[in-house]
Symmetry: C2
Subunit: 328 residues, 2 copies
């Protein structure tokens, strides 16, 4: 095991920058594979940009366990396309008009085209995955995609459900968010032909990081600054998505009747009041502590992995999440 | 080449009945593979029944080219699941409340759950397809699924578009309907390890039959009896789906200004008047003739195929379509 200096989040991305650039080019090129009548829609949603976190995790896991190959780039492209497909459908469900300051597909073309557009992207991503000569990779990707969709269904089904437990919440976010993070890390290592122990460690790293990331994102919706989120706070509350801080406060029993009443007001939900309640009850802080612990646990998974600069990049991503959580 | 007596449509289904029964059982069993919270939704849409035409084509093509195996049954299950997924999303787009006399998924649970439910089925079907040891099969299935979605997008995009040509129409229905028919026949033979010539013949058979079937279905929407269709006539017209008879009449130039005006009235479209116009202009008859010709061409594709009872079953399906067209 060689020891390396810790690197920053920006340095982690720099490390894989040429590969990320290829991923970006490849994502753009996918639109051309569709019928010319469909190309414009695909290209619009693919070029909308994004953090490309899943590709970064796949590429860093690849580098942490071997040489980054064309297959790793394929993996990164496929996982991002699945992610984009789910965002396209999410925006329909949320009736969102903007994503990253651009009109959403549903705002531009209506729900009908957008449902189909998501389907197209989804089918295409899975079509690309059939190019892997090892069908285990293809199966694992399809599994993760099915998990994401199932997680989203359960989340939608349990809106405004005061009986949602923290266990239900973890299960939902493991499926809807962490499944792709986990597949990125696991398959990055699998393609590098890492040992089963290393593959399994990276899979767990991705799972824990994904759950922590979703908890962070959910806290941000409640208590972030508009500058951090670029969107109105409390959107989840108004949509009946009860996230970890809310569930922890419900569980604690403190002011539970007032809380229940406020939560069920749907479009009339008073976000500011609720956030103040969650803050003074310590529920935001408790949720943060849980995310911090998950970040710690994710980092522990990296211990048996060869300590090269790419492994340092994975660490840097987890550390960056810790920093972001600290700032809320 | 052995010669056999022609068989009826019912006999064709009888021939593969035990296998179709297994397909049905397997489709039902899929629901159990999902998270318990999702199982109920999946099982509802999977048990809604259907003609199971795609499974029948896959199984008959299998029998026509060899022995029907477990892999053929897998193929039939996967294609039907993809078909069900597209129906689930179709019903959202059409705002349909009933399908086969049962409330649609969107009528029962709303659009949000239903978008995700379609995604789940879709992802699951493609996940099942990764079990084929030959990744060509998996790729071909994903290709067909992507075709179906692209076809649906173009159809939606071109609603109320008076510039839609018959060539555009054929391309749309080749993608949205015939792609799965064609994949069923082609892959049925491919799994049987038939010769490239036979595989290609069955692929073309499925393509032509699929196009003829969609033309039939489109004529039925204009001119069928309520008894035949179980739904209100002229739905396509009101939704701006201009199908073959309409396009042929627009192309002929007869009463074209009146026709254009009537077609663009959206929800106020006078279906009865339009159907009367299409009838007296001979456009319904012309569309039927085109479908008859496609059926003939599809049957020609079967000539080089070993003439066993299963090949007779494929013929019977094409003949049944001819009979149904005759009855309109």
């Amino acid at each position: 095991m060689t020891s390396t200096e810790p690197i920053s989040f920006a340095e982690a991305f720099d490390l894989i920058n040429p590969h990320l650039y290829t991923v970006e080019e490849r994502i753009r090129a996918q639109a051309k594979i569709f019928d010319p009548a469909v190309e414009g829609y695909v290209s619009y949603v693919c070029e909308a940009g994004g953090k490309r976190l899943r590709p970064a995790l796949a590429l860093l896991s690849a580098g942490a366990t071997g040489k980054i190959t064309a297959s790793h780039v394929d993996l990164a492209v496929i996982l991002e396309l699945i992610h984009i497909a789910t965002l396209v459908h999410d925006d329909i469900m949320d009736g969102a008009e903007l994503r990253r300051d651009q009109p959403t597909a549903n705002a531009k073309w209506g729900n009908a085209i957008t449902v189909l557009l998501g389907d197209c992207l989804f089918a295409h991503a899975l079509r690309l995955s059939t190019n892997f000569s090892n069908s285990d990779i293809c199966r694992r990707i399809a599994d993760a995609a099915a998990e994401v969709c199932s997680g989203e269904i359960i989340q939608t089904q349990r809106r405004f459900d005061l009986k949602l437990s923290t266990a239900d919440y973890y299960r939902i976010i493991e499926m809807k968010t962490a499944a792709l993070f986990s597949a990125a890390c696991e398959l990055g290592a699998f393609i590098s032909e890492a040992s089963p122990q290393v593959i399994s460690g990276l899979k767990t790293f991705g799972m824990k990081l994904g759950v922590a990331y979703q908890i962070y994102d959910d806290i941000l919706d409640l208590a972030g600054s508009e500058e951090q989120t670029g969107k109105t706070l409390g959107t989840d509350l108004r949509k009946g998505k009860f996230t970890l801080p809310v569930l922890l406060m419900l569980q604690s029993g403190k002011d539970v009747n007032t809380l229940r009443e406020l939560l069920l007001k749907e479009d009339q939900v008073d976000g500011e009041l609720l956030v103040a309640m969650l803050g003074s009850a310590g529920a935001l802080q408790s949720a943060k502590s849980i995310a911090f612990r998950l970040i710690e646990e994710s980092l522990e998974q990296l211990a048996p992995i060869q300590n090269n600069k790419y492994a340092g990049g994975l660490r840097a991503i987890a550390e960056q999440l810790r920093t972001l959580l600290d700032r809320i």
